[in-house]
């Protein structure tokens, strides 16, 4: 079976590194993007199995990028987790309104993130 791909869109190198470390021990293939525009382009090109989208991104915000991906029929069905700034800020509601499959408040526990990834991409 083909390795499943996770697209991580995040502008902070250290946070990308954490996910990179987390997924290095798994069979998931990780691709990364550092801003909203690049994220949308990579998603449309690579059609990943799961997208992790930070809410605040350069060039194109995470919410706008989510809306664009949801508007594109090729990417409309891909599970998409928005990493919100703060659960109580209202970002979570806006993320769900934009079309996110789930949201995760920052700072998140890596264990919680892995649990969420496994939820959307269960082992066979």
């Amino acid at each position: 079976m083909k390795d499943r791909t996770v697209l991580h869109i995040e502008d902070n190198e250290y946070n990308r590194k954490i996910v990179r470390q987390l997924l290095s021990r798994t069979s998931f293939k990780l691709i990364e993007a550092a801003d909203g525009e690049e994220g949308v382009a990579v998603a449309q090109r690579e059609l990943p199995d799961l997208i992790l989208m930070d809410v605040q991104l350069p060039k194109l915000s995470g919410l706008d990028a989510t809306r664009q991906l949801r508007a594109d029929p090729r990417t409309a069905k891909i599970p998409l987790v928005v990493v919100t700034s703060f659960a109580l800020s209202g970002d979570d509601r806006r993320a769900m309104d934009a079309g996110a499959s789930a949201y995760l408040a920052k700072p998140y526990s890596p264990r919680d993130l892995m649990a969420l990834i496994h939820k959307f991409l269960p082992d066979n």
Partner: protein, 538 residues
């Protein structure tokens, strides 16, 4: 501009009046520098004087008529006397004839009596007669003397029995004299009658003249009274109308209009006062407008600043969380052995990093929450929520801390509490704050959570056996950055924002927060919210 609007309200008849010469007169009267009192008095005085003059003229006319009537009476009397003279003359002739017929001189004495009457009457006539008749009367008197001489001749002739001579004297001398006297008396009567006719005509003329004069005066008085009344009253009404128009403009909030009246009386003074008032109102209105504009622009700037602040806070929130995410994330994956087995001596410092990182996160959350509440940007997400679930979440997340401190920690929710409406997550935050504080400030004993439903109100309560709060501090503990004692901050930690945020969130739900406490014994914090919060009240 305001003047035009004031004129528009004036009825067309008044406009026509003001354009007419009468209007000029009205304005002229208004311009007279005298008080209203004096003007009214003067008008009444003029009218009264006119009536007095009219009365005087009437009186004069009546007097003149009376004088002429007297003259007429006198003339009438003189005519009567003339008739008496004529009568006496006839009697004289009669007695003379009688003397001749009886051929005796006895009748002559009767003639003398008639003569005396004649002379008396003539005397009276002469006294009363106007100058031009004197000559005529004198002629009559002369003729009468001649007649009496003839009578004496006749009487002598009769006495001497000279009858023929007496007859001749009568026929040739006395008769022509009597005829002459008769003619003279007749002309006198005619003259008097003519005079009477003239007097009658004159009386009639003077009566009609006095009637005309009186009527003229009456008409003039009435006309003048009307004119004076009209002019005076309009000289007062015009400024009053102007004032009414002006005041209704002021009432409609249009200030700065000017009232222009020609009056130099009390109305003029009033208009001047109103103009000053108008100027003052206009000035105040302008000032107020400028102030309002300034306030408006200030408000705009403040709104802009507030928005900028909120945006800054939102950005800052994310910016702070991003490195914190990395710190906590790396610590956790290191702790979980992702980088290989962690040496035992490094486990504790790793946990310390994690604990302090989480504390920093809580502080950031509190500060941002309060900033949002202050900016009015915090919205409640009102949905259905389970009271049981809230209490469970709080109990579960704090249970380990209670166990760590060796405290009894219970949570009690009556089973019959229905589903409630409100922002469940915010209420969880509130209860977490209260319960967290209770655990923090209690060294021994217990902390108990419970919920009660009374009517439509839910009360969440946290009771502890902690250090308690001094009475004089109870009112202050809900204020921002407030802990009872700064040493407490050092010993127990915390930002001092938790209670303040909790209070605001409870109030946004339409509820209230309170505390009962006894120093050294413990505290009971509680908040009461409606079972159904209808929405946000921030």
């Amino acid at each position: 501009m305001q003047r035009t609007t004031a004129a528009e309200r004036t009825p067309p008849t008044v406009v026509a009046l003001l354009a007419s010469p009468l209007g000029i007169l009205v304005r002229a009267v208004a311009r007279i520098r005298a008080s209203v009192h004096v003007k009214l008095l003067a008008a009444f005085l003029v009218i009264t004087l006119l009536f007095i003059a009219m009365t005087a003229v009437s009186l004069l006319a009546v007097t003149e008529t009376a004088r002429q009537t007297t003259l007429l009476d006198e003339a009438h009397e003189r005519v009567g006397w003339s008739r008496q003279i004529e009568h006496a003359l006839a009697m004289q002739m009669h007695f003379t004839s009688m003397a001749l017929l009886s051929q005796s001189a006895d009748s002559v004495s009767l003639i003398l009596r008639e003569n005396n009457r004649f002379n008396d009457t003539l005397e009276r006539l002469q006294t009363a007669a106007p100058a031009e008749e004197r000559a005529l009367i004198q002629a009559i008197r002369g003729a009468q003397d001649d007649a009496m001489a003839t009578v004496a001749d006749i009487a002598n002739a009769l006495r001497d029995r000279r009858l023929a001579e007496a007859m001749t004297a009568l026929r040739t001398e006395q008769e022509p004299i009597y005829q002459k006297i008769e003619a003279l008396v007749s002309s006198l009567v005619a003259a008097e009658e003519q005079r009477m006719a003239r007097l009658r005509a004159s009386i009639a003329a003077s009566q009609s003249r006095s009637l005309r004069l009186t009527a003229g005066f009456a008409v003039a008085s009435v006309a003048l009274a009307l004119l004076a009344g009209f002019v005076i009253s309009w000289s007062f009404i015009l400024p009053v109308r102007e004032a009414r128009g002006f005041l209704s403009e002021v009432a409609e909030g249009r200030f700065g209009g000017k009232i222009v009246v020609p009056n130099r009386d009390e109305f003029g003074a009033l208009a001047e006062h109103m103009n000053r008032m108008s100027e003052e109102l206009h000035r105040l209105d302008d000032e107020q407008r400028v102030a309002a504009e300034r306030l408006h622009s200030l408000n705009d700037r403040l709104a802009l600043a507030s928005r900028a602040k909120s945006e800054f806070l939102a950005n800052m929130s994310h910016e702070l969380r991003t490195p914190l995410n990395a710190i906590l994330g790396f610590t956790e994956i290191m702790h979980d052995g992702l980088y290989g087995e962690v040496p035992p001596e490094l486990r504790e410092p790793l946990v310390d990093i994690q604990t302090n990182g989480r504390h920093l996160l809580r502080l950031i959350n509190d500060v941002l929450d309060l900033s949002k509440i202050e900016a009015g940007r915090l919205e409640l997400g009102v949905t259905e929520y389970s009271v049981q679930e809230i209490v469970d979440v709080v109990h579960t997340s704090l249970k380990s801390l209670a166990i760590e401190k060796g405290l009894t920690f219970t949570a009690t929710v009556p089973p019959d509490i229905p589903t409630a409406w409100g922002d469940g997550r915010r209420l969880t935050q509130c209860l977490l704050n209260l319960a967290g504080n209770a655990l923090k400030f209690t060294r021994r004993g217990r902390v108990d959570l419970d919920v009660r439903l009374e009517g439509e109100w839910l009360t969440y309560r946290v009771t502890d056996t902690g250090i308690g709060i001094p009475k004089d501090e109870i009112d202050k503990i809900f204020a921002e950055f407030r802990q009872v004692d700064t040493t407490i901050t050092r010993e127990y930690g915390g930002t001092g924002l938790g209670l303040s945020i909790t209070k605001r969130l409870v109030e946004m739900h339409g509820g209230r927060i309170g505390v009962d406490s006894e120093l050294g014994k413990g505290s009971t914090f509680f908040f009461t919210v409606p079972l159904h919060t209808d929405g946000e009240r921030a």
